[in-house]
């Protein structure tokens, strides 16, 4: 299919933000972008507006548009909601998952537990996504899945930097195992609880991380 410049632009900027090439607080100058991508302000404008809606950028009227710098408190709030959505996915998945889906989930689980994968944060990050994505789909609530993915997207710029916490990967993998068992055995409440906690721990880790930064004052966010 044919994608407009505005769409490509939006994706490109989104990528840049998520991958840390654009940092929270950075300015998005329309004219500069127009020149960089050789397009007029129109598609830039549209792309930016979409990003505003998605929450990744904000505009300060008459000041310019900037990569959203989500406040610490709001970040916690967002993790709280993310945990609830993931928990819900888990609960529904435990009830509704199909054999083929369970198979896919098990594969994802095993990849997460692979020694080679666990030793490479980027690799693990990817397999982790797959694991959670399986659960979204297995909830058999497409709307929920899309909301969860959207919120996760919005949190990405902040999540990447806490996978490096000490032991986080091996703990995460262990939690996956418990989540898988609960879903496989149809234990709705346990699946919900385990997933909720799994996400909330991320939030906690994250807030630890932020405290560290504030205390020692370096380690630019989102810089791998």
């Amino acid at each position: 299919m044919k994608r407009s410049n505005a769409q490509k632009l939006k994706d490109a900027l989104e990528e840049d933000i998520i991958n840390g090439r654009l940092l929270p607080g950075d300015k998005l100058d329309h004219d500069a972008l127009a020149e960089k991508y050789n397009v007029s302000r129109t598609p830039i404008r549209e792309a930016v507006q979409q990003l505003v809606v998605s929450g990744l950028v904000i505009v300060k009227p008459k000041k310019g548009t900037f990569v959203a710098k989500v406040g610490f408190d709001q970040l916690i709030e967002m993790f709280e909601v993310m945990a609830e959505l993931e928990g819900m996915c888990g609960r529904l998945a435990a009830r509704r998952i199909q054999p083929s889906e369970l198979e896919r989930l098990r594969t994802a689980l095993e990849r997460c537990e692979d020694r080679d994968v666990m030793s490479d944060p980027d690799e693990y990050y990817y397999e982790n996504e797959e694991f959670h994505s399986c659960i979204y789909d297995a909830s058999h609530n497409g709307f929920l899945a899309s909301e969860a993915r959207q919120l996760k997207q919005r949190l990405k710029p902040y999540r990447r930097l806490q996978l490096q916490a000490r032991n986080r990967v091996s703990n995460s993998a262990a939690e996956h195992r418990r989540i898988y068992d609960a879903i496989a055995s149809g234990n709705e409440l346990e699946a919900e609880r385990a997933l909720k906690e799994h996400v909330l721990i991320q939030g906690t880790r994250f807030s630890d991380f932020v405290s560290q930064i504030r205390k020692f004052g370096h380690a630019t966010p989102a810089t791998a």
Copy 2:
């Protein structure tokens, strides 16, 4: 503050959709709107794009843009998520509500139970909103509150038509009482449960209603 035409347009269209002046499936012709509101296609375009993101309208490429006709299944999915979000608000509210907020909630509750209010669906609809809005705020999670409001907005075109179900108003008011008691007494789980159910019942009523329509084939949706 100064609002752009595009913003006003967006609000106007949103209103029209929510209040049933524009029905699901109706076409939004850019040129027609441009003429009607005496603006160029540019602000129309922007307004429409925002509505697309919010899910109220969809564009069929090269066919035109239309008021979203949410499928029955997706509607159920949306109610499921709405119930979860409301339940979460209730749970958090039961834990975090402040005296002044509880006061406001009690006032809202009493309004909902007022005989005059209960006899007027529009009136009740309004007070019902206030009641739920109190709970959103009392969750002390601004992000959650805004997500809940947004989803509620998206469901509005479909909710209004099920308040007319037999006894729905008095049942709803009774449920409010139980919700209030749970929150007031700090019973998190009961608050969550009661609110979830309260919303899910709406979904059920709604699906009953749709079945009716399908069987007897009239009663245009969103026609008060």
